[in-house]
Amino acid sequence: MPEILITLLTIGVVVAAIPGVCNYLILLERKLSAWMQDRIGPNRVGPMGLFQPLADGIKLLLKEEVVPPHVDKVLYLLAPALSVFTAMMAFAVVPFGPVDDSVPGFLRFIIAPNINIGLIFIFAITSLGVYGIVLGGWASNNKYSALGAMRASAQVVSYEIPLGMSVLGLALMSGTLNLEELMHQQTQGGIMSWNIWFQPLAAIMFFTASLAEANRLPFDLAECEQELIGGWHTEYSALKWALFFLGEYTHMITISFLTSILFLGGWNLPFIAEATSNYPGVWLVKLLVLFGKAFSFICLMIMLRWTIPRFRFDQLMELAWKVMIPLSLANLVMVMFCMQFGFNRWWLFVGSLGLFAAWGVISANLREAELAARPGYVKPKKKAAAVAHGHGHAAGHH
């Protein structure tokens, strides 16, 4: 089949599948949330609520389109378009299946193969997504939207740095930013060459920063329902609101695939999908393995939502600037030393854990010092002593 037809087929499948998958992810999120909270969740439309996404889609399509007179019309319409465009565009360089000889000729599990700047492309495109948020918040001319947009821009911008810095160690080790190549290197060596063994700290930071980039709880300061109604999309309704959500869920899908590909070996799974396994239909198994890994990350994100309470804004900024940025820089320097002097890669595993523990101790001490510098601070006493005196230290600690 000619190259252009394969490309068009892949694009067609992806563009058709992503909205559908996102719809069902919303159902999954509602069902999982319900189970975690001992409820039943949507169960009216179809068996077990399986047709709920269709009903929601039709409802959103036919709802009234409200464009209030107080908004800036062009930017108001541009914002959802921009946020869904950037989110879906980033998916172009993500290999969502095996990319090797075992795949039948007419299938290709990546839209734009062989892009050697793959990772930079993703970061560049997704960071454009912040424009969707800022424009939406500014154009809405609503105080909640403006607050949400400001918070969101500060948050996305701050977490951009640890996100980019955490994969630099990976680039240093692998010598490439091409996602296919990164996946290939891990699949050839089996489970012991997965990057998570050598960069566990970077994996955690990458996932956390991605959550913040996607505005998922516990980082959803920008749209926290209890304080800001909906944040920057307060004034949006019907299909334009749905576009924002399509963007957010597409972002989730991209993150899950990226984390699986960068750190968890892509389609590699011991005994089932190895580089040497060569049974008929192996490409399908590889595809399913990668999908399974991505799916478990999505479930993890949804479950995190109901496990960790939302951060306060100052905590959020402190996590980015005082914890993740120095840690990712230290991690990068560690990889640099390791590569320069040719140490065994397993030292990186030990080093990552050491860095994590060390920064925990340091930042606890810094926190203590910062609290002590505040006026009216009373040094917390030992438990027994505090009970005995019972006064004079209400301010300060906790």
Binding site: M89, A146, A238, M336
Partner: protein, 126 residues
């Protein structure tokens, strides 16, 4: 080394633009439109909005934006180095020691800038 395979990206981008525009058009064409005075108000929890939402905001957001610019540009310098530093066709082995030393200096300045920003209280949010 061959050029990256860019045409699929542009095709995909064009199709996405079409997808987005179709969605916006559909939202415009389908669905009723009835304006009422209350519906047209900014939704602020049922209160009548006071003043304009486009007001001056806290300068700390501006500081964070500037700091982001500084760090992100430095990050951009780091990418080409990280890819080529120890790869087969990257920096030749006899230059690696020099590059290593230069990069150490670079990282040190980065860390110093970060410490300076902290001492200046840019990260303090209360």
């Amino acid at each position: 080394m061959d050029l990256p395979n860019l045409p699929p990206l542009f095709v995909y981008g064009a199709i996405l633009v079409g997808f987005v525009i179709t969605n916006l058009l559909l939202a415009h064409l389908l669905g009723p439109r009835k304006h009422t005075p209350v519906k047209d108000m900014p939704y602020e929890s049922g209160m009548d909005p006071v003043g304009d939402a486009r007001q001056p905001f806290d300068v700390r957001f501006y500081l964070v934006a500037i700091l982001f610019l500084v760090f992100d540009v430095e990050l951009l310098f780091l990418y080409p180095w990280a890819v080529s530093a120890y790869s087969e066709f990257g920096i030749p082995p006899e230059l690696r020691d020099t590059v290593f030393a230069v990069m150490l200096v670079f990282m040190t300045t980065l860390a110093l800038a970060w410490v300076y920003a902290w001492r200046k209280g840019v990260f303090r949010w209360r």
